[in-house]
């Protein structure tokens, strides 16, 4: 049986899918480059699952990300590898740092990398979860202004079981926090309008009531489609 629970008075459990949907939409609203959205979304998921700031500090993180310059990060691999985040949020460096550490380990290196000058540097802890997708263990030691990431082989399957655990149990969250995020994520959805409603459906109803399409199986309440219709609507392609 699922342990995904329905609402308790102040707390609720949300599924992996729900978290991904809401976090992805919230990130889309920041207008960050779309190619970065899935990676940042999963940073948020794991941050929430690990009890970091994924839920509690998400609003501030999104604000930071909305002003981000991902290319401000720089990498020095001439000696011990170091990433300078240039003040960008830690999530923007998380996947890059992990991947460089994995590459380093798989090509005979130590699997260690240092990240410095990241905003909210404690969030680099998400790398410990992200590494599990590679079947690897990552340890993140966070200092005042830098973090050391070490990637190693796994010795116990439980060390890479976080995703399965989230799938089975979901993640607990304060209900008010969740619903606030959920409702805000709707900003990634398009406003409804007469024109927009013509962009879907088996029939199109013109403002004058003329129907485009077959109605042999249709029992549509036209008022659903005609709300805010202009008096002389221009035909739109579908």
């Amino acid at each position: 049986m699922s342990t995904c629970q329905s609402n308790l008075p102040n707390s609720m459990t949300v599924s992996l899918r729900e978290m991904r949907m809401v976090f992805e939409r919230l990130l889309q609203v920041t207008r960050i480059e779309s190619g970065l959205v899935p990676a940042l979304r999963d940073c948020a998921v794991y941050s929430a699952a690990l009890g970091l700031g994924g839920f509690s500090r998400l609003t501030a993180t999104l604000e930071t990300i909305s002003k981000a310059t991902p290319k401000a990060l720089s990498f020095d691999g001439s000696g011990d590898p170091v990433i300078d985040c240039g003040g960008q949020h830690a999530w923007l460096a998380a996947d890059a740092a992990l991947e460089l550490a994995v590459e380093n380990m798989k090509t005979g290196g130590s699997g260690i990398i240092t990240v410095r000058n990241a905003k909210d540097i404690g969030e680099l802890k998400v790398i410990e979860a992200l590494a599990q997708r590679f079947g690897l263990k990552a340890t993140v030691a966070v200092g005042v202004d830098r973090a050391a990431i070490a990637v190693t082989q796994v010795t116990d399957p439980d060390e890479i079981a976080l995703l399965d655990k989230i799938r089975r149990n979901g993640v607990a969250v304060d209900a008010a926090t969740w619903w606030e995020l959920y409702h805000r994520s709707a900003e990634a959805l398009a406003p409804d309008s007469y024109l927009s409603r013509r962009h879907a459906g088996p029939i199109i109803v013109e403002a004058d009531g003329k129907v485009i399409g077959r109605q042999d199986e249709d029992e549509t309440d036209f008022s659903l489609l005609l709300a805010d219709a202009p008096k002389s609507a221009a035909s739109a392609k579908h």
């Binding site: 049986m1 699922s2 342990t3 995904c4 329905s6 609720m12 459990t13 599924s15 992996l16 899918r17 729900e18 889309q28 480059e33 779309s34 190619g35 970065l36 899935p38 990676a39 290319k71 990060l73 691999g77 923007l92 996947d95 890059a96 991947e99 460089l100 994995v102 590459e103 798989k106 090509t107 997708r133 399965d164 799938r167 619903w179 959920y182 709707a186 990634a188 959805l189 398009a190 406003p191 409804d192 927009s196 409603r197 013509r198 962009h199 879907a200 459906g201 199109i204 399409g213 077959r214 042999d216 199986e217 249709d218 029992e219 549509t220 309440d221 008022s223 659903l224 739109a236 579908h238």
Partner: protein, 578 residues
């Protein structure tokens, strides 16, 4: 004469691979749209499993008044597993009614829940279900569903039975259902159980099984509701005859959202297309027995398909008419009959007669007729096909390869996505489309970019432009650079690089199309899902973007399944003669 022998032994794996088609032959949208329902389609696979296991479906209570308001509850026993299907029924209302998900009126809502449902959970679900996006499922809930009556046909059947007559088959055959599914949600949505958290021995573990059982239960409920309402007004009214009950499935409406589903489920698409091809290849490799009984079985199935197409009363817009396909199937029938005659006469020229049969028909018959033959061939290897479906437990997590050199990544891009480089991607901005979701019920929509506006988030995966842009940047860096270092400098490519690397080695995951172009027909991909993967019959097309069809058309009734008397070849039902 005996069959020719090949000069060298061939492994089973090589033989099957040789008989499978390539991505280039299959992945154009119009080719994917031609795929027909088969034993590996989810609805048919579910029924195969149910028939084998003699699933027990029982109505525990049915407390619905003459207007349609009330509740019902069913119990489903599958081996040692028990499921509940609570139903909340409502009087049909014309207000807020539509087949689109923006509808606000449903005639029934239900859930598929593990185990016996407690009174408290039944009541909680009654409260939470209508909230949909803001509702929360109780523990053990697999699916939430909702459907509407087909008003005209439901009422017509009700009046006929109430007056002591059987319903008019010709009228019902226009759509072949009493109620139509308008939503099936699970896999974590609304707090439902995540599919990949299903236990290893869970009977609904394979992809789409839980949704399909829920759809089958909607069909069961629709027929029970009809009979119940008839009896409330006319206690002496007859039962609907079983042949007609079997003929009626459950309706389904689908639209643009399935294109987004394909984008987000590349492994499901790839695995499903692959197992279908594998099943077809295994069937093509079958060597008939001396009497040619496998050929005779195929001939009988082709005849069944011809009758089915000839009797089809549905109206189509741009999809090929069934009478045309019936004629095309006659060409196939002649070829199969000829093969049977030759085989029984001892004139056995071919080492792989079914492969030769199929090859001889390629290009001679309509693609949908050809895919009908392919689907029917799968019935020659039922056990293998069933086993392939039950292996469809799919994890869509995509993981990249940071250590991969850029030259290898570029090889993947150029080889796996060669089709993208052959498309004309210079579509004028005025003709570009955007895929988006409305704030109203999150309805997926697709409109011209000029109409939608620049602020709307484009949810469509612009795969060809992403890979072409990636290739351009890959070509400009040191080929020996690692992917990790490339992505550090080009973070905007992270999502597409991960996808390319994670799906490398598979080829059937993405339609070969520019879905942002006006020349793309969304209904093609909706049809792949509805017809091929879900197993929906008689899919009618509307405005090239919406489809309506019938699931479980001809499927056994619960009593057939429980008694062990179900027809395993129940599909393509002939119209009942009453």
């Amino acid at each position: 004469m005996t069959a020719l022998r090949r000069p060298a032994p061939e492994s089973d794996a090589h033989r099957i691979a040789r008989l499978m088609r390539s991505a280039g032959e299959m992945m154009a949208p119009e080719r994917l749209a031609a795929i027909q329902p088969s034993r590996v389609s989810a609805s048919r696979a579910l029924l195969s499993q149910a028939i084998r296991g003699r699933w027990q479906i029982q109505c525990k209570r049915f407390e619905i008044d003459e207007k349609g308001n009330g509740v019902a509850e069913y119990r489903i026993d599958i081996g040692g597993w028990r499921f509940s299907f609570p139903v909340y029924s409502f009087e049909p209302s014309p207000h807020g009614r539509t087949g689109r998900i923006i509808g606000r009126a449903w005639d029934m809502m239900g859930a598929l829940v593990e185990g016996d449902m407690s009174w408290a959970d039944f009541e909680t679900t009654r409260t939470e279900l209508p909230k949909l996006y803001e509702g929360r499922a109780t523990p053990g809930t697999l699916i939430w569903c909702r459907s509407n009556r087909s008003g005209r046909f439901f009422e017509s059947a009700r009046q006929a039975l109430a007056s002591g007559r059987q319903p008019d088959v010709a009228e019902l055959a226009q759509t072949c259902y009493l109620m139509r599914n308008t939503g099936l949600d699970g896999n974590g949505t609304f707090g439902t159980k995540t599919f990949l958290a299903f236990e290893k021995d869970h009977p609904l573990r394979w992809s789409l099984a839980a949704q399909m059982l829920c759809a089958y239960m909607m069909r069961v409920f629709a027929q029970d509701l009809l009979q119940h309402l008839v009896r409330l007004g006319s206690p002496q009214a007859p039962d609907m005859v079983k042949d007609l009950r079997r003929f009626l499935g459950v309706g389904n409406g689908s639209a643009l959202g399935l294109m987004l589903f394909v984008n987000n489920h590349p492994r499901l698409i790839e695995r499903w297309l692959f197992i279908r091809e594998e099943a077809i290849a295994r069937a093509k490799a079958v060597l008939p027995d001396a009497e040619g009984s496998e050929i005779a079985k195929l001939l009988a199935l082709v005849d069944k398909a011809i009758t089915f197409r000839s009797q089809d009363r549905a109206a189509y817009e741009n999809f090929t008419r069934s009478d045309v396909l019936a004629e095309e199937l006659q060409t196939i029938r002649r070829a199969v009959a000829d093969l049977l005659q030759r085989w029984q006469a001892g004139n056995r020229f071919e080492a792989e007669p079914f492969a030769e049969l199929a090859a001889s028909l390629v290009g001679r018959v309509h693609a949908e007729a050809m895919e009908t033959l392919h689907s029917l061939l799968i019935e020659l290897v039922p056990d293998e096909a069933d086993a392939l479906v039950e292996g469809l437990v799919i994890d869509e997590e995509l993981t990249g390869r940071p250590e991969m050199p850029v030259h290898r990544l570029r090889d993947l891009v150029r080889n796996d996505y060669a089709w993208a480089f052959n498309l004309n991607l210079e579509v004028p901005a005025a003709e570009r489309y955007v895929w988006y979701k409305s704030v109203i019920a999150e309805e997926p929509r697709r409109g011209l970019a000029t109409e939608v506006g620049h602020d709307v988030v484009n949810l469509g995966l612009d795969l060809p432009r992403l890979v072409v842009a990636l290739d351009r940047d890959l070509s400009a860096v040191d080929p020996n650079l690692s992917t990790a270092r490339f992505l550090f400098a080009h973070p905007q490519h992270r999502a597409i690089v991960t996808r390319v690397q994670a799906l490398a080695g598979t080829s059937l995951h993405s339609p070969h199309a520019d879905i942002m172009s006006g020349s793309f027909t969304p209904a093609h991909i909706t049809r792949l899902l509805n017809v091929g993967i879900h197993g929906i019959d008689k899919t009618r097309d509307f405005l090239d973007r919406n489809l309506r069809g019938v699931l479980f058309h001809g499927a056994p009734l619960p009593e057939d399944i429980a008694s062990g008397n179900a027809d395993a070849l129940w599909f393509y039902p002939a119209e009942p003669s009453l």
